[in-house]
């Protein structure tokens, strides 16, 4: 236990990095994912194809390989990104298709009669999507989107394998330095992760229940 308390500043520093990665990549992945989802439902076929290729490609590549690309292959191609930004880039790229798919399944979850009713009232594509479909889809996608963010929180640990000092690297470093307190340190690191994932999970479950009643 002493080893945990003594190294608390190190833990806090690492936790800050984890949160930085989570917030920044989460925000950017939400933006990119929304653009991809919009392409996916747009009437222009080439945008459809581009969006689905992007989604399938990134969803079927392991995160480790994406981060490897950003951290080690990109510098070979002339990038000078520091490792933190490489990890940010990799996590954003990897998370964005999951955001897009969550949005798309939310749109598919809106009853088809809603779209038909909107169309029969004479609303156009833009009107029926922005006024009828999206407001309803938006509520349905909040819980899945939170689940994507929970997964992202856990995924930030992979960045620890690529020279970013966050919670996982802190776990490695501190267990190396304090061989007698391995379990305490690992449990402390797990507690930091759980401090983010469990409240998010509760929020997601509560919202799901609340929105389900309203429908």
């Amino acid at each position: 236990m002493n080893a945990v308390i003594e190294n608390l500043p190190r833990f806090i520093e690492a936790f800050g990095m984890t949160l930085w990665l989570l917030v920044l990549s989460g925000a950017c992945a939400l933006i990119i994912g929304t653009v991809i989802a919009a392409m996916r439902i747009s009437p222009v076929p080439s945008l459809n194809v581009f969006a689905s290729v992007y989604t399938e490609l990134l969803r079927n590549t392991p995160l480790t390989l994406v981060l490897f690309f950003c951290a080690f292959v990109l510098p070979q191609l002339g990038s000078r990104l520091p490792y933190e930004w490489a990890a940010f880039l990799g996590l954003t790229l990897y998370t964005s298709p999951f955001v897009a798919e969550a949005l798309r399944s939310g749109i598919n979850g809106v009853a088809v009669g809603q779209a038909e009713a909107a169309r029969s009232l004479g609303l156009g594509f833009m009107q029926s999507t922005t006024l009828i479909i999206f407001p309803q889809a938006f509520r349905m996608v909040i819980p899945p989107l939170i689940n994507v963010l929970i997964a992202l929180t856990k995924n930030t640990s992979v960045a620890g394998g690529f020279f970013v000092f966050e919670l996982f690297s802190a776990a490695k470093e501190l267990t190396n330095a304090n061989g007698n307190a391995v379990i305490a340190i690992l449990l402390a690191v797990a507690a930091f992760y759980l401090a983010v994932t469990i409240p998010l999970g509760i929020l997601s479950a509560r919202l799901e229940k609340k929105l389900a009643v309203q429908r």
């Binding site: 995160l63 169309r119 999970g201």
Partner: protein
């Protein structure tokens, strides 16, 4: 028939406009790709020496060596082996968790719930490190055990959802036939829940296969570690990009074919239950996982 209810069957003007937009987008994408390929093909300076571009044969000549492919296959086999062992374990753990989580005894149910939440909220990678350091099992078992427990927790949760979604009459019928509560759960409810949740489970197993790549970080010689680290250091850094492309293609081939299987299962389970026209977007292909109108892959945790 229009492909989607969101917009009308396009008339000649809209078709023309959409075609023009399509052509512009294709041109933009093609220009982007061409720029990337051109940049990659340029020779580059590296600390005084000029190296050839990335498509030069001197960066690719290892792919004709049989020894190269033997080593790549070794890595792929290690990945598949860890995934297979992890999958078996995840299924066993998942069934166990689902049973305990739905137990009638609160003394069993509540601790199981806490343990499940703990496992689901923690990164797999941290669990691997935990097993590696505390149980000192060696990298292979660290990868397999962590993947098994983590994915088992997720599969257990989806099985529980499947059990909860069954009509009450199933259990009541079992009980009225004289089965005990446990028998009814094992013989009546569980097989149905399992079938119901099969697409989600298979999609989760695809995620498990992807996650074996975390072995790269904890020192298990799976595909990425074999190609990028071991092969990379023995053939030299100039092959790094080629090795990366080879690894990427292998992963895509394996994962896409497994995802295709998951989709087939999802479709066969509910033949014709959700017609394409019941969905708003035209590209949606799979859905109908039991009661919810959600793609099985969307319910997994990546």
């Amino acid at each position: 028939m229009s492909a989607s209810v969101l917009f009308d069957t396009p008339g000649p003007r809209t078709r023309r406009r959409s075609r023009i937009a399509s052509v512009i987008v294709v041109l933009l994408i093609a220009a982007g790709l061409a720029w990337i390929i051109y940049t990659l093909a340029q020779p580059r300076d590296s600390s005084g020496i000029t190296l050839p571009g990335y498509f030069d044969w001197s960066r690719w000549d290892i792919v004709v060596l049989a020894d190269f492919w033997v080593r790549v296959w070794g890595g792929l086999r290690a990945t598949l082996l860890a995934a297979a062992a992890g999958a078996v374990m995840a299924l066993v753990v998942g069934v166990l968790f689902a049973m305990l989580r739905t137990s009638v005894f609160a003394a069993v149910r509540i601790p199981t719930t806490i343990v499940l939440e703990f496992f689901r909220g923690m990164p797999v990678l941290l669990m691997m490190l935990f097993i590696l350091l505390v149980a000192s099992t060696g990298a292979f078992w660290a990868v397999v055990l962590a993947l098994g427990v983590y994915n088992g927790a997720i599969i257990g949760e989806s099985l529980r959802a499947g059990l909860a979604a069954l009509p009450r009459g199933q259990r009541e019928a079992g009980l009225s036939l004289g089965l005990t509560g446990f028998q009814s759960k094992v013989f009546i409810e569980f097989p149905q829940a399992f079938r119901q949740m099969l697409p989600v489970i298979i999609a989760q197993l695809v995620v498990l296969l992807k996650d074996t790549s975390l072995g790269y970080i904890v020192g298990y010689n799976e595909l990425i570690r074999t190609t990028m680290n071991n092969l990379g250091s023995s053939v030299g850094n100039r092959y790094l990009f080629s090795l990366f492309l080879v690894t990427l293609v292998i992963y895509l081939a394996v994962n896409l074919s497994l995802s295709a299987v998951a989709r087939r299962v999802a479709r066969r389970r509910n033949p014709g239950k959700v017609l394409p026209k019941d969905q708003i977007t035209p590209t949606a292909s799979i859905s109908a996982v039991g009661m919810s109108n959600v793609n099985p892959e969307d319910q997994t945790t990546e």
